[in-house]
Symmetry: C2
Subunit: 517 residues, 2 copies
């Protein structure tokens, strides 16, 4: 073992002989000491207090830590300890989580986290995860934990209805859903099912002829999933979208792209854009809609007009861990024809015990609905969240964020130095500082906004945002999505953006003046 | 909403107007009520007590529930509640978890769970999961939570060393590792990296020419992963193994299979058998070793002779959630050449903010090491487990199970009616009842053992085992792996097997006698 450092001193514990119990000092040879109820209760209270304290003070941490690459690796020993380092190893480890780890995290739950995408936490989902980890069953088949499979079937229908999905995607309508880890996983499952169903028609050796289509605004998870599934990189078609059309995908352009491929002897496979079903139908394509983020908003009836056209999709996925208070990870995938998913992802082996009760029935073995065999009991937290907050609770959560984002957007619009660069999507505002004329074109504007973001994020105690490059335009992204974010944090964030912009513009004016001299 | 049923009564809570806070009765319009520290503390203690009580009495549940398909779905409403059902919705939901869900689960943590594979829980890992869910960061890049990425880099090296892996697979030796969800995911990542690295040599359009090889004893996760990655089903080669060679893979047979494919113009891609490196090398194959289960045993030096030949593998995976007390899910994947993994699975987009500190350095962005982008902070629980139990603690855990399995095996061997059907692998005993001569051949023996397993598992309060079919031989599997399993549970299990066998044989004798009359 390397030189002990902070928190890793062995405290004189013997290095040889019998394995010492972790906490009591008495010899306890049984493995059952690792699941001792009394120890769990004691340590569990410590953990609950730890997390409660974290929620109370998470706003005091800089959202993004000011640390250098390697800062933590340098502080930790090169080897795991051979024995628990002290009689209170758990307490010591918790202190290290607090003192070494927390200051080096990006605090996604901080009220000033406006970067990337929301990862809305809730107490109920966090505790649901704790329950799942504590109970630790592995519901890979119905028989391997019947209640876990059945609860999952129930909550995906609950969730689907709450989101106003078409019934054809739910168990109650002949389809069905499952809870996976992430969007990438869900998209990969859909692509593999689409691929295999297409190959069954055209010949199993023609994988090289399959083409996938998406808009150039599609999340790169789609590209990644298609690549993993063996779709050739030359066979992705990212249909260009334009700012003057608000970056929406044009059916005419999709049709043209598909026709060109058909003329070239290729075959359409997957299209993530539900609104373009008619075009897809003409080419027999599988339509998958991934709405990792925005879909959460559809718990609110006022956003339901956005659903038009998705009634006929083949599959649909959305991350409940983004905006529906379900904590990471929890992505729901629904499919119209579960048998196609099972045909693509199913496995059958003698050693998987089929329960007598399940034989001959239409049993759902979720191992055949996903990439993985081993899976967690994710349905538990979703059940708890829906029961404890109700669909109205989720609506309130989403609406409050949308309201705050709208307020941020109106502030941007009211300041002539700035512009909103894309239609606000729910609680995401994309904006930028207009480049003063004397500084020149897009390139200078991009550079200006890159510096602006740097300065906004450098504030430490201030907001933390991210950026996007769309159609050659660099923009700042303000994603309102943290559970703890309140109106005042959004107002403060805007104030920081304005201040930094003013100082930046002043500096540049001075530089220009200096050059002019 | 459907008719309310058990636990779903709305208790007179108003159905319209402002969203009510979950517990306090006061109007609290902020989303922050979903992360209220006081509510978390109160509910958290409830959950800790719930889990502690579960550990205390999990042995009282039948391991496998006696329920029919649909038993739980029928009891739950068709829609999620619109509002929290009462002022103590959380308490009510917890009671339903206890009364509706627990009795319908297969209790993987029960001391009599000998089925499938181990899912060893520990208090520390369960609480590590709770911490991860509570903190809820998303370390998809280094910058997105630096301490999470660095801790992962540290613990995969700790774990690799504890398992006596070659340094070439660890960060300290130029390789590196990551923590994924499951073996399937890890194998898929390795196959995609192998596939792409091979296609770069032979031409990116030749995916149809790639062949994967494994022994017919390989877990079907391998087949599934290869299929997802687009390897044609005709291009899996399962090399037959034989009982008289203890189901080991023969290098000569592998070589012959590879040579036949080369002669047919195909290309070798992936071989999961490390010991056959020399054969693989001759064909430029990527060698992946998956040791979802057995590898855990290599924390013990006395099992290290089994490592011979794996020094030169390209990638290696093992499930820490199986036998190393890490709770589901936690699969470690190590690779010799991380750049090949990143080339296959990497994504690069403008909107991912690179931290200034990371620019130009060899930063690890774990989103490029796996199928998924969003990921959980799994390193935390592994860190806690290794610190609180030490490597010696894990050794003690594994050794106790191996000892119990050896004891079970010797009981089987001592009873002439039974035979051990495959060499005991660590804590897994495969065995069967010999078929009495008058009953005839293998088919009758298989049927006899099928009925034996049924009767063993039907006992309710008794052990729960699973089965395997290998080389046409049906066998019972007794996998000792639950943290709470003690010697007495194993002894009881054997007693049940003997009793049921005796009664079964008696019945059959009677039937034969009846027929003979």
């Amino acid at each position: 073992m390397a030189t002990p450092c902070h928190g890793y001193v062995n405290n004189g514990a013997p290095q040889n002989g019998v394995v010492l119990p972790v906490e009591t000092g008495a010899v306890q040879p049984q493995n059952s000491r690792f699941l001792d109820p009394a120890a769990f209760r004691r340590q569990g209270y410590q953990v609950i207090n730890f997390i409660a304290d974290y929620y109370a003070r998470v706003g005091d941490y800089p959202v993004h830590p000011n640390v250098n690459l390697g800062f933590l690796r340098r502080q930790l020993p090169a080897d795991a300890p051979s024995r628990p380092e002290s009689s209170d190893a758990f307490g010591a480890a918790l202190r290290d989580v607090r003192d070494l780890t927390l200051p080096g995290l990006t605090h996604w739950q901080g009220p000033r986290h406006f970067a990337h995408f929301p990862a809305s936490s809730s107490t109920v989902a966090a505790l649901g995860e704790a329950l799942t980890a504590g109970i630790n069953v592995v519901p890979f088949t119905w028989a391997a934990s019947p209640a876990a499979t059945e609860l999952e079937m129930v909550v995906v229908d609950w969730l689907g209805k709450a989101l106003h999905l078409p019934e054809s995607l739910m168990f109650c309508g002949g389809g069905g859903g499952t809870l996976l880890g992430t969007s990438c996983e869900a998209i990969l499952c859909a692509i593999v099912a689409a691929r295999d169903s297409k190959l069954a028609d055209i010949g199993s050796r023609r994988i090289g002829d399959l083409v996938v289509y998406c808009s150039d605004q599609t999340h790169f998870a789609f590209r990644k999933a298609a690549h993993i599934a063996g779709i050739h990189r030359d066979n992705y078609r990212e249909i260009a979208t334009y700012r003057d059309n608000m970056f929406a995908l044009s059916p005419a352009e999709l049709h043209a792209a598909m026709q060109a491929d058909v003329d070239a002897g290729l075959t359409t496979a997957v299209d993530p854009i539900g609104e373009l079903r008619a075009v897809a139908d003409a080419h027999g394509a599988w339509v998958h809609v991934d709405a990792a983020y925005a879909r959460s908003a559809l718990v609110c009836p006022e956003f339901c007009h956005l659903i038009a056209g998705t009634e006929a999709v083949d599959s649909f996925s959305m991350n409940a861990h983004r905006w529906l208070l379900a904590n990471t990870d929890c992505c729901a995938l629904w499919v119209r024809t579960p048998s196609l998913l099972v045909a693509a992802l199913g496995t059958e082996q003698e050693y998987i015990l089929k329960d007598a009760a399940a034989e001959g029935h239409d049993v759902v073995d979720y191992k055949d609905w996903s990439v993985t065999l081993t899976r967690r009991f994710r349905a538990l937290k979703v059940w708890l969240v829906l029961r404890c907050y109700g669909v109205e609770g989720l609506r309130g959560h989403v609406r409050a964020h949308v309201r705050m984002a709208a307020s941020f957007e109106s502030k941007v619009q009211a300041d002539a130095r700035f512009e909103v660069t894309a239609t606000r999507q729910f609680a995401l505002v994309c904006f930028r500082l207009r480049s003063p004329e004397k500084l020149g074109g897009e390139k200078a504007a991009n550079e200006l906004n890159r510096r602006l973001l740097e300065e906004v994020n450098a504030a430490g105690s201030g907001p933390y945002m991210s950026s996007a490059m769309v159609g050659g335009i660099y923009m700042l992204r303000c994603a309102v999505g943290s559970t703890l974010t309140e109106e005042r944090h959004v107002n403060e964030a805007w104030k920081v953006v304005q201040d930094r912009a003013a100082s930046l513009l002043r500096k540049m004016e001075n530089t220009c003046r200096g050059v002019a001299k």
